[in-house]
């Protein structure tokens, strides 16, 4: 009766939705319900920490913190289905860190720490959700959400629960002795590019740890003398885990003690250090045995059955909880191998090419961001020759060669490019000198068509053949772009035109009618604008990487916008991509043709919020571009 409504409510909300009915009921029985009229201060910063987790049943709150200069800064709004006071359940903070105020009449369900903790502690899905929330914020967790919904969940392939700490901990521990100065310690850390350092006594036994955070909080911010002894700022006592402990236990300790580094001990001796980062990396790799299958094929016919397996791998990876970037990377790797194999088969059929050539791919293939098999986007750069006869021979050779490859790829499941961006189109099968002219003319005469071409071709990546040809074209591009602000402004104009579908009051903008009424296109309205912005930044800062995440990584320290929002941008990209892949896998499993349209109302509260945040990151950067290129920027 009363309680059934509560259970029904919790069934819709992560992490409670992961619980079994029986557990859910036992939690619901301990829940209490409170009402806060609009304006009520529910929690106040610096008060004793709340001993309850609150789930908003109705209404909304704002979460704020008071900065050091006394200003209230709103850090979040939470609405129905969201929680607050989460960390109070597992953390050890004694004081409330934020202020929470009801912005409308709000009803919350409360769970007291003492009552609910036993249930949480015995429930891996629940615990893991909280852990994820804590150390990797949203992105990884959402893959975990999806993971949770799959049949695989609950089986023993849970990495956090099955991987011993010793397997992933950093093994070469960098140490200094107790008489080292702060500066010496910091130098040691920089030299080894590490975020923590162990201080050992004369017997080599660890006595303390110094992390980036210590340097920030205890030295730089207090203007402390760097010739002071490092042991004065080190942290004691050190929290440790055994090499044989499961990663999960390490995470629990890290959260409990609010630390990001933990010592790994074997037989009483220091064996390594485990960091947050190591734990996040744990969710990546997956061995792919059938790449071998691909290698052993000698004909296009033989490749066809192998290529159909690629789609199935995606579903599997998703169910294993792989990150989106890892999934697309693996797809790219498999597709690359497939294309290379077709090229090798073609080379065997047509004989050695008269001049060296390089097969390039561009678009999403160039960025290694394909989800399922997409259109072919490829071209040939071949060597120049002074001999007209040889040039003619090359022309004929590559014409036949590229047709064969095109058709072979079609049979392996890569459809024709509708815009004919394929090597089989003579326009896109040219010697290096012509490619250089193409690029030069697009940059120097940035009319709309040229900008459009640039968006597609500038993401080119060499896939097979003579890599010097591609490298030379890339460096040519770098040199002609220098100082080409008009071109970049034109490109910026195109980039900011495609706004993410987020309206006033942060509501999703969906299609008004047609086949996809009430849906939004994740690829064109989400991933597209993000990729375009990052490409523009990459061209501005002259980095040669073509994949979005690699571009972001490479631009750190080189591009101010990336320095300020690179991480958010990368997370947004991961999240939208993951959402898209998940949607497509679902369609494929239902026997439908995969597309990019999702209905945002079908997302969980959590997913909705992350998607909104992701769109906001893009919007903000677009606004930045408008300011940067100013009124002189005319769209394409």
């Amino acid at each position: 009766m009363v309680i059934d409504d509560v259970i029904k409510f919790f069934q819709e909300i992560p992490p409670f939705q992961f619980l079994e009915a029986r557990e859910l009921r036992s939690i619901a029985e301990k829940v209490s319900m409170e009402f806060y009229p609009k304006g009520t201060v529910i929690l106040r910063q610096d008060d004793p920490a709340s001993d309850a987790l609150r789930v908003i049943k109705k209404g909304g709150v704002k979460v704020s913190v008071r900065s050091e200069d006394g200003q209230e800064v709103i850090i979040d709004h939470r609405g129905e289905g969201d929680t607050f006071g989460l960390m109070s359940l597992i953390g050890k903070d004694e004081k409330q860190k934020t202020t929470v105020i009801a912005i409308e009449d709000t009803i919350c369900y409360l769970m007291k720490k003492s009552q609910v903790l036993p249930v949480i502690e015995t429930n891996p899905a629940f615990t893991e959700y909280f852990l994820q929330f804590h150390f990797s914020k949203y992105v990884d967790k959402t893959s975990r959400d999806m993971h949770a919904k799959s049949l695989f969940y609950g089986s023993s392939d849970h990495l956090l629960f099955t991987t011993p700490v010793g397997d992933i901990a950093t093994k070469d521990v960098v140490t200094v002795t107790q008489d080292a100065s702060i500066q010496e310690a910091a130098q040691e850390m920089s030299r080894n590019r590490i975020s923590s350092l162990i201080i050992v006594d004369d017997n080599g036994l660890p006595v303390g740890i110094v992390t980036d955070r210590d340097l920030r909080e205890k030295v730089v911010s207090r203007g402390r003398d760097v010739t002071d002894m490092v042991k004065d700022i080190m942290t004691l006592p050190m929290i440790r885990v055994d090499v044989k402990d499961y990663c999960f236990e390490a995470v629990l300790k890290m959260i409990k003690h609010n630390i990001h580094h933990i010592l790994v001990i074997k037989d009483g001796r220091l064996k390594g250090v485990l960091t947050n980062h190591d734990l996040m990396m744990l969710q990546g790799t997956s061995p792919l045995s059938f790449a071998k299958d691909l290698e052993s094929q000698q004909s296009v016919e033989g490749l066809v059955p192998v290529s159909t397996k690629i789609n199935r791998v995606v579903g599997l990876l998703l169910k294993e909880g792989a990150k989106a970037s890892n999934i697309t990377k693996i797809i790219a790797e498999l597709n690359d191998r497939l294309v290379r194999k077709v090229l090798e088969i073609a080379e065997a059929k047509f004989g050695k090419p008269p001049v060296p050539y390089c097969w390039i791919s561009f678009g999403s293939e160039g960025r290694k961001e394909q989800t399922f098999k997409t259109d072919q986007d490829n071209a040939i750069i071949h060597g120049d020759t002074d001999s007209p006869a040889l040039a003619d021979q090359a022309k004929r050779y590559f014409a036949a060669f590229s047709l064969f490859v095109r058709d072979g790829l079609v049979r392996c499941g890569f459809p024709h490019c509708p815009a004919d961006y394929m090597a089989s189109n003579p326009r896109w099968c040219q010697p290096l000198s012509v490619w250089k002219q193409y690029f030069t003319s697009w940059v120097h005469t940035p009319n709309p068509e040229a900008v459009l071409r640039s968006l597609i071709f500038f993401d080119f990546r060499m896939l097979h053949g003579d890599e010097r040809l591609a490298a030379e074209l890339r460096s040519h591009l770098g040199s002609i772009l220098k100082g080409q602000n008009i071109f970049l402004a034109q490109m910026a104009g195109v980039v900011i035109k495609n706004r993410p579908p987020l309206g006033f009051f942060k509501k999703f903008i969906v299609e008004k009618d047609g086949e996809h009424k009430n849906e939004l296109n994740l690829k064109f309205r989400g991933i597209g604008p993000l990729v375009d912005i990052v490409r523009l930044f990459a061209l501005e800062s002259g980095v040669s990487e073509t994949s979005t995440l690699e571009r972001i990584e490479a631009m750190k320290g080189k591009h101010p916008s990336i320095d300020s929002s690179g991480d958010e941008l990368a997370q947004a990209f991961e999240f939208i991509t993951l959402l898209r892949i998940h949607h497509q896998v679902e369609q494929i499993e239902k026997g439908e043709e995969p597309d990019n349209f999702i209905n945002p109302t079908r997302l969980s509260n959590l997913e909705k919020r992350i998607l909104k945040e992701s769109f906001q990151v893009i919007s903000l950067l677009q606004d930045g571009l408008s300011d940067q290129y100013g009124p002189g920027m005319v769209g394409g």
């Binding site: 009766m1 009363v2 029985e29 829940v31 209490s32 319900m33 009402f35 806060y36 009229p37």
Partner: protein, 221 residues
């Protein structure tokens, strides 16, 4: 003998509640009964529902719900209201056993109800018959509290853009944005009443009703 006010205070002490207890910290049991009809002499209790609160916090899992085999005949007119049929309650425990359990559930609490005087009349009748005493404990009526707020204060009214003159539980619930799922089940009605009381409670301390003593003064049934 005693007036209601003194009776309430005496009950407070008898059940171990300090009358200086803050309304935001006191334990309450919000109660509702379904009856065979409205005449105390002819009718009797069919079901009792109650939910516990501490201050404004409703304890969802701490509820009490019993069907009672009625002492008097069930009448068609009331069956329509509460939906409990004679055959459903025929084999249920008698009021004597249920009353013991209810008293236990109400221990140390202020009893709260909407038009509680009616429920109390029936509970008292049964209590007297069973033990010769009245139903114990301090009690407040949400209908009375609502009346008092309407006469004494503007802030509640401002918050909700006015107050209702209707006294019916469900009209009030609707007016103050309380979700009602299944009406006229004693437990669900108690739960709605609890939420109504919860709305009032969040305003009372600022209206000069900080302690249980004050609450009993404005809310006597």
């Amino acid at each position: 003998m005693f007036g209601l006010l003194t009776r309430n205070s005496a009950d407070l002490n008898a059940c171990g509640i300090d009358d200086r207890t803050l309304v935001s910290e006191c334990r309450y049991v919000v109660l509702d009964t379904e009856l065979t009809g409205l005449e105390v002499k002819k009718d009797s209790i069919v079901s009792i529902g109650a939910v516990a609160m501490t201050g404004g916090s409703i304890h969802i899992g701490e509820t009490f719900y019993r069907l009672v085999s009625p002492e008097t005949e069930m009448r068609g007119s009331s069956v329509v209201v509460h939906g409990i049929t004679p055959s459903e309650v025929a084999d249920k425990p008698s009021i004597a056993q249920t009353m013991d359990e209810l008293l236990k559930f109400c221990e140390g609490s202020v009893v709260v109800g909407h038009f509680l005087s009616l429920d109390l009349k029936f509970l008292n009748k049964e209590m007297k018959r069973l033990s010769g005493r009245e139903f114990p404990g301090p009690a407040v009526d949400t209908f009375r509290i609502h009346e008092w707020i309407r006469e004494h204060d503007g802030s509640f009214s401002t918050h909700y853009n006015g107050m209702v003159r209707d006294t019916d539980l469900f009209t009030m619930a609707k007016r103050y944005h309380i979700q009602v799922s299944a009406a006229h089940n004693a437990l669900m009605d108690a739960f709605v009443t609890a939420q109504l009381f919860q709305r009032f409670l969040s305003f009372l301390p600022s209206l000069g009703v900080p302690t249980v003593k004050d609450l009993l003064r404005i809310g006597k049934p």
